[in-house]
C-alpha cells in the first residue's frame, strides 16, 4: 500500500503526489508504477503513472495529469488527501529507462505530460553529475501547461551539458518568446539535434499520436530505430 504524504499542483490539471511506500526498493529513471483503486462495491480500476523523481531522491513522486472523464486521475487530483492509501505495484518497466553510466548523447522528446518520466531522467542526469550531452524538446499546448517550468529554467541556465527547447502548439506565445510555436516537425528535430551519426539514445514519451509522429520523423532523419525508445499513453482511461 502507498500512503500520500503530501501533494502540490504542477499546472491547472496536473498534480505531484509524494508517496510513502514501505520497503520501496528504489527505481530506475523512466520507470512507472501501477495504481489500483477499489470501490466499495469491489469495482477495480488500474492505471500506470510515471515516476517523476530521480532515483537519488529520498522522496517518491508521481505527477498525475487529469483526464477529465477518467476513472482514476480525477480521484487522485481532486479527492485524494494526505494520509489516503491505495494499492501500488512497482517500480516496473525496463525498456524505457536510462542509467547515468551511459555516456552517449541523450535526446528527450516530450509531448505534454510525457515529460514526467523524462524529468526523472533529467533529475538522474543532474544528481549523478553526468556529463552526457542531454537535450530536451518539450511540446506543450500553452506556457501554463509546461510542467516543472521553474526547474526546467534552472536546469537550462545552470547545466552546460543540458539544453532545453520548448514549442507551444495552441497559444500565441508571449512577445519575448524565443522558442517555437508549432507542432514538432523534421526541421525542429534537426535543429535540436544531436545528429544521427552521434548515435544519441532517444526517448520519446507522450500521447500515442505525438509519439508515432515524432518517432517516424526521427527515423526519417536517420536515427536507428533501435536507439529510439518510445512510451505512449492513450487518449482515454486516465
Amino acid at each position: 500500500m502507498a500512503t500520500i504524504k503530501e501533494s502540490r499542483p504542477e499546472s491547472r490539471h496536473a498534480k505531484t503526489l509524494v508517496l510513502d511506500v514501505p520497503d520501496w526498493p528504489g527505481h530506475r529513471a523512466g520507470q512507472h508504477v501501477d495504481i489500483r483503486l477499489t470501490a466499495d462495491d469491489g469495482y477495480q480500476a488500474e492505471r500506470s503513472y510515471s515516476i517523476a523523481s530521480g532515483p537519488e531522491s529520498p522522496r517518491l513522486e508521481l505527477t498525475i495529469d487529469r483526464v477529465d472523464d477518467g476513472e482514476v486521475s480525477p480521484y487522485l487530483i481532486d479527492d485524494a488527501r494526505e494520509g489516503d492509501q491505495f494499492e501500488l505495484r512497482g517500480p516496473v518497466g525496463g525498456y524505457f529507462v536510462w542509467e547515468a553510466t551511459e555516456t552517449e548523447p541523450l535526446l528527450l522528446v516530450a509531448g505534454g505530460s510525457g515529460l514526467v518520466p523524462l524529468m526523472s531522467i533529467l533529475r538522474h542526469h543532474e544528481a549523478a553529475g553526468s556529463s552526457a550531452d542531454a537535450r530536451l524538446l518539450l511540446s506543450a499546448r500553452t506556457l501554463n501547461d509546461v510542467l516543472y517550468r521553474e526547474e526546467l529554467e534552472r536546469v537550462r541556465d545552470g547545466a552546460d551539458a543540458v539544453t532545453v527547447h520548448l514549442t507551444l502548439t495552441r497559444d500565441t506565445p508571449p512577445a519575448d518568446w524565443n522558442g517555437w510555436s508549432r507542432r514538432v516537425d523534421r526541421e525542429m528535430l534537426a535543429a535540436v539535434g544531436p545528429a544521427p551519426d552521434a548515435r544519441p539514445r532517444v526517448y520519446v514519451c507522450g500521447p500515442t499520436a505525438f509519439v508515432e509522429s515524432a518517432a517516424e520523423l526521427l527515423v526519417a532523419l536517420g536515427h536507428d530505430p533501435a536507439t529510439v525508445h518510445t512510451e505512449r499513453f492513450g487518449p482515454s482511461g486516465g
Binding site: 512497482g90 518497466g93 525496463g94 524505457f96 499520436a209 505512449r232
Partner: protein, 82 residues
Amino acid sequence: MHTDGNQIAGLLEEIFGMEMTAETRTCQSCGETRAVGSHRLYTGAGYVLRCPNCGDMAAAIVNRPDDYRVSLFGTWSAEPGA
C-alpha cells in the same frame, strides 16, 4: 487507439516473474526483432500485443477470475536477473 508494451510491464512481470519489456521478440511474420516494450498494445476485454513493424499478433492476454490465459507468438528472449 493503441499504446505500447510498457503499459503492461507490471502485468507481464506478474505473469513471467521477471521484467519483460526490455526483452526482445522476433516476429514470426516479418522477422524483425524489437523490444517487447515497443510493441503496440490494444486494450479491450484483455490485452493484445502486436509487432511494431508489421502488426502481426505477438501476444494475447486474458485475465480470468483465478488465472491468466496467455497466447504468445514469435520468439521471445528471456534473460532472468539481467
